[in-house]
Symmetry: C2
Subunit: 404 residues, 2 copies
């Protein structure tokens, strides 16, 4: 069997933890499997590197940020390879570039365009564990790129897809995917299985256990994912196409994302092309818009609200203030004190009771809903951030998620 | 003019110092020159990285040590590029591999075999400052290699040679090359000029200001070197082929190397091939032998003594103990409490008074000479380490080096 294992930053946060990972990898190898390991940077290394960059400049060039940040994973792969050698387990480390991960040139958020995996295949056939730096690649010009936050998950899944691995194991510091964040809801339950679509919605909705691009990749190439802890040998959560009928609940989980901001354009003239104008301007600056709603026009004007990542608020406000003058809007407001609470599950949209229970539960708890959005398998509400934990606990209880 | 500037670890030891370097580089660029900058890792980064490796394993694979250590310079180039951008000075950072520094596969001590500098030329022609990671390269298989301690000097000189630079400036934390280490001899004087051969001998003899491989490279390709401080704008020391007649003294400087060890093979049978046998064994383990002497044979046996780097002693003793049994020698002794004191100067061997003054001065100070070796421009004596500073001060005075 070919196994891809990905270890996140908390799993390789110290030399002792790297030794722990080496033991796990060696064990897998000794069970007779071929093993490709993808590792993140140790602990908070990436943040520390970027902090240095931003100390030197308020707007460092993105190419150089990638040159800088990519060293974090390079340190991890070398150290893990050394730890494996010390256990007598042959291993070789490869940077993203050496592993043949070819990306586009969108520095700090590059996308994989091609995988030239001959080198990995060659080293596996020599009986070596191949350790690949997560989060990074190389563009066609040989420049180092990074895949954005959580990019190591994407590296692992892309490698699993390209190498036709039997499983991609995502190791983290929790036991798997839970019905809600156990730090908020103590009775939250670990899910044994979840579909790609549900996982995708949970990732988008703010569950941090897997990066959503990685889940998209896994879905597209049908890579079975196994999310589990690097600190024990418990079974984690399997993410796959179809899950057993008997396990299927209507609602799978409740998530919360506090790192969002709400922006409102006030008094926008109700003429065609306005929404396109500002979404284009934001997209060109790399700002993703999540939920968006437009009020009923009143007197030829309406308000447009949407959510973005909290970290993008400053940049977005600058862009929108200029645009707002240009299109003759009244003004722009930004608000960080909001959170997005979502329920996710294959059945949420086919069952009309579900939204009713959700909105009713929030109302009973005196929680005002500011924006609503839905997808096939998700309903999200933007509420005050201060009420987010209360909302998650109430919804978890209302949908009886603590029961198997 | 094309200027190559190399900044060592102490010159880029903090973010403030990196900003300082950025200002210097920008100034050079604004004077109308094309600039290639080579930087070392920040401060003690390389040592810290290697310490992690040796915590995980007592004998980490050298390929992985290079993968690990090379990240230090990669961090520096990215940060310097960011600092330059912040000053409005266009710049681009390149790893050794990206800069086209192709080496052999002797990991941790690789040698440059070829320079593919088209990428550097392309970026220079766009008006950019090109920042290259020192100390590192890539073998023909695309694996990261490092050039060994002090390798950034070699990177800078090799780039200056390949790009036909007008000068290679070596920035450090001292004002240039001195007649002796000013920490030992307060009246030591900065040299305005020195020949490649003298510099080479001084580097071999223990002056740490320039790595000897870099000087060899500079000599072979006639690259003028200017050794100077990154903390002021004083003229430093020029290293070149010929120096002005009027400046020529007989003795140029006194150096000391305390990081050596003396090894003695006792009672070695006086038959051909013995010296070859152990030098070969040591060379294969990457241990350089410096001075070597063989005693007059007595009763068909003699003693062989030589010096090696202090850090190699343990490894050398292990190899030599095995060999000593094999060749029927009496035993091996190792001694770290020794130092090598040298006088260097174009005239030392053509003037018979010089060795007489040297040995006489040591004798007057009750310093016993254990080994002697000479070259065209150097006389070295191995003495007790505890007497090394006394010897240096006495020799500096005896040869009147404080006088211009």
């Amino acid at each position: 069997m070919l196994v891809v294992q990905k270890y996140g930053g908390t799993s390789v946060g110290s030399l002792d933890l790297i030794r722990n990972v080496a033991h796990r990898v060696k064990k897998t190898k000794e069970e007779g499997h071929d093993v490709i390991v993808v590792v993140s940077a140790m602990g908070r290394t990436t943040d520390e590197l970027l902090k240095m960059a931003y100390t030197l400049s308020s707007s460092p060039p993105e190419r150089e940020l990638d040159m800088l940040a990519s060293t974090g994973e390079q340190v991890s792969i070398a150290l893990l390879s050394i730890a494996l050698h010390d256990l007598g387990c042959p291993a070789i480390s490869l940077t993203g570039a050496q592993a043949g991960i070819i990306t586009d040139s969108l520095f700090t958020r590059a996308r994989i365009v091609r995988m030239d995996t001959w080198k990995i295949g060659e080293e596996l056939s020599k009986g070596k564990v191949v350790i690949v730096a997560g989060f990074q690649g190389m563009n066609e010009k040989g420049e180092i790129t990074t895949l954005g936050r959580g990019g190591s998950d994407t590296t692992a899944v892309a490698l699993a897809a390209a190498m036709k691995a039997d499983v991609c194991e995502i190791y983290t510091d929790v036991d798997g995917v839970f019905t809600a964040d156990p730090r908020i809801v103590p009775e939250a339950r670990k899910l044994r299985e979840i579909t790609y679509d549900e996982m995708l919605e949970m990732a988008i909705a703010g569950a941090k256990v897997l990066q959503h691009r990685a889940v998209e990749f896994a879905k597209r190439f049908s890579v079975p994912l196994h999310v589990r802890s690097s600190f024990n040998y418990n079974e984690g959560t399997w993410v796959k196409e179809e899950i057993s009928m008997e396990r299927r609940g209507v609602v799978t989980g409740v998530t919360v994302d506090k790192k969002i901001a709400k922006v409102t354009l006030l008094g926008v003239p109700d003429i065609p092309g306005i929404a396109h104008k500002f979404t284009k301007a934001l997209a060109e600056s790399g700002i993703n818009i999540d939920m968006i709603i437009q009020s009923e026009p009143r007197g030829g004007y309406n308000d447009i609200s949407f959510t973005i990542g909290e970290g993008d608020l400053e940049k977005a406000m600058k862009i929108l203030k200029e645009l707002s003058d240009e299109i003759g809007a009244e003004g722009v407001t930004g608000d960080k004190e909001v959170a997005k609470v979502s329920i996710v599950g294959a059945g949420v949209c086919s069952n009309p009771e579900i939204p009713a229970i959700m909105f009713g539960t929030l109302a009973e708890n005196n929680i005002n809903i500011e924006l609503i959005s839905t997808s096939e398998v998700r309903i999200s509400c933007v509420i005050r951030e201060a009420k987010a934990d209360t909302a998650v606990r109430a919804l978890h209880k209302a949908f009886k998620l603590e029961e198997e």
